[in-house]
Symmetry: none
Subunit: 207 residues, 4 copies
DNA sequence: AATGAATGAGGTTTCATTCAT
DNA sequence: GATGAATGAAACCTCATTCAT
């Protein structure tokens, strides 16, 4: 449905507008997006323990503005995760129509990991690392689990992926790899080997 | 309930003393050991964010005593982790004498993962997660890398492990799995499959 | 639900205007009245600690409009209370013409208590409770004292009220009752007995 | 049972002590008492909205110490009320053995009010004025209500107090009067008349 | 040497008030 | 004139660390 979520999506204003009636809200949306971006960056760089004030400063707004948009640090974190996961889910959906289900599955894993390796930032959020906010992260990643399940099932039925593994474990492998990469900065280029290991390990054995 | 928890061992020192000549120092040593045990258990169970007071209570001593022995929370964590390092190294060394270097390598990976799966402290240390204490974490991380390198090289020379991977990447796989497991608590039993995937993926291909 | 709540009355102004010559000013006045009504209702129900935003919402206007009309929370409160003062004075004056000065006095006490029983704003104003806005409260408090004095003197001269009491003490009795009632919400109906006790106690003794 | 409550009660230490084993706790108790005293004074003077820091400063301790003793502002308030009510309850109990139940009842009212008039400070607390913390105050005053009920029932059975009133209303009258007196500083001397009014109003009518 | 009470900087969150649109 | 987003001072509370006993 191409719904308007959190991030800054195309404003249909410019299409229909003769006059400029609701210009205020544009600023607010820009601020909201800025805050999300800042939170994304700062959480990634410093961990979940950063002060909200730090995020506000990075976003160029006052503390109060952060709280107007996200009444709780936890909710801000949730929103950041949500935005990130959206990407992952969308990519998975685009692969569901693929001819070869095995190829779709392996491509998905590769893409997500390689993208995450470059992105680095939010993997911590996706995984729910760092105590306290685990509940949030857990709840949210259900969506990711759903699409993963579909891809996995198809791939397993087509005989390209070992049958003794579930979506939970595949997610663990992905998330784990993303997390691991976040630690070792600057080695993103070697992610190819890791992806290869994981994919090989997931492949169904001929015998 | 005053039992020795995780990995620590009883000091036989106290058995031999009939009279009380330097009992003070013995007491102090006992306290130090108790604090380490408690820290071990509590860090493992709750993560690095526990209050020092909690550890003191578990150890059955006052906060002050904890601070006399470990002037900083970070130093206490360091001491706890130090014991892991030794375990890791010892396990690796005992495996180096193994007949089958491939088997040794795979066993090591399995052990480290299974051990760390239920241990937040170890995961934090190995992965370097949870800011602040990075220095400490780096130490153990490097140790793991060292022993891993040795085991890996042997296994690769024996032809059981694919040649296109380095110790860094193997470590990333281990760390990733540990981090991933931390979030899905209670499902540690399924870690077997994940370990299996990783090991299969690491195995050298016949062709 | 856009009904006129507590004590405010509809402005018949707006009925006469067919054309829209100075409609702006009329709108502004309507807004001011609505804000006062809302403040009245909300202050009475929730006490002085409500957020300005809450009042604005009840009034159906933006926060900014509240502030344009009443530059300070305190001034808004003052304006709300001002209406009470007038009511108090008017009621007292209408009772001064009464035949029986004793009856007038007792009726006044009853009315003030019953009216204030369900009205936190009035109680706060009369009693001077809830710091900060003391200046305001002093104003209404003094007004009450004035009218009370007149009614009391007449009643004492007519021999229906004991001579050994002053307006200050009568006010204390009223305020006390109001404050006491504020805590036992929902039992306002029993205020009748309390009023009865106070009136009986104030009555002049036959001997 | 002369139990050890909150305030500073006689330390039995000085009776039995040969050596001085538990001297530390004495300091802590002194601090706790100091904090309660400070809270008492500051709450009374400035209302419930004072910062905890202010109370800490008055008590001559750090904020943390206040929070160690009373983990919440609400709990501190509760403790202050509790200490105050204890006095009221004890006095009521001492009057229960009186010969003349009517006299006992009226004396109680007089005493409590006159004492409160001099004390001034905590009446606000007893009554639960000032929004937020009402729940606390309400729950606590049950004890007071109990003893009051007993005194009242006896007095009503002996025919000295009007039958149409309940303990709740009597409490309201007492509390109300105390609250009212708190407002008008320096007029405590006139409390006699008010007490007289209330007692007269409560007396059973001859007809 | 051991204890745990005290400390206070630092973090989250609220809300009266301002100001750009 | 109206709007409501933005602001930031100030309040509450936590917890690593110190220090008197």
């Amino acid at each position: 449905m191409n719904s308007h979520q959190d991030g800054s999506v195309a404003q249909p204003d410019s299409l229909v507008n003769a006059d400029r009636p609701k210009s205020l809200r544009v600023d607010a949306q820009r601020n909201r997006a800025r805050i999300l971006d800042a939170a994304h960056a700062v959480f990634a760089a410093e961990g979940l323990s950063v002060r909200i004030e730090e995020i506000a400063r990075h976003a160029g707004v006052g503390i109060g503005t952060v709280y107007r948009n996200f009444p709780t640090k936890e909710l801000l974190f949730e929103a950041v995760i949500h935005r990130y996961q959206q990407k992952l889910v969308e990519e998975a959906e685009s692969l569901l129509d693929f001819d070869d289900p095995g190829e779709a599955f392996f491509q998905y894993i590769s893409r997500v990991i390689e993208e995450g390796a470059a992105n680095k930032a939010l993997t911590a959020a996706v995984s729910g690392t760092e105590i306290d906010m685990k509940a949030v992260a857990t709840g949210i990643s259900d969506q990711l689990l759903d699409v993963l399940s579909k891809l996995l099932e198809c791939a397993q039925q087509s005989g390209s992926v070992r049958a003794d593994i579930g979506a939970e474990q595949v997610k663990a492998l992905i998330v784990g790899t993303l997390l691991a990469m976040e630690q070792s900065a600057g080695q993103a280029d070697r992610s190819v080997v890791i992806v290869s290991v994981i994919c090989d390990g997931l492949r169904a054995r001929p015998d």
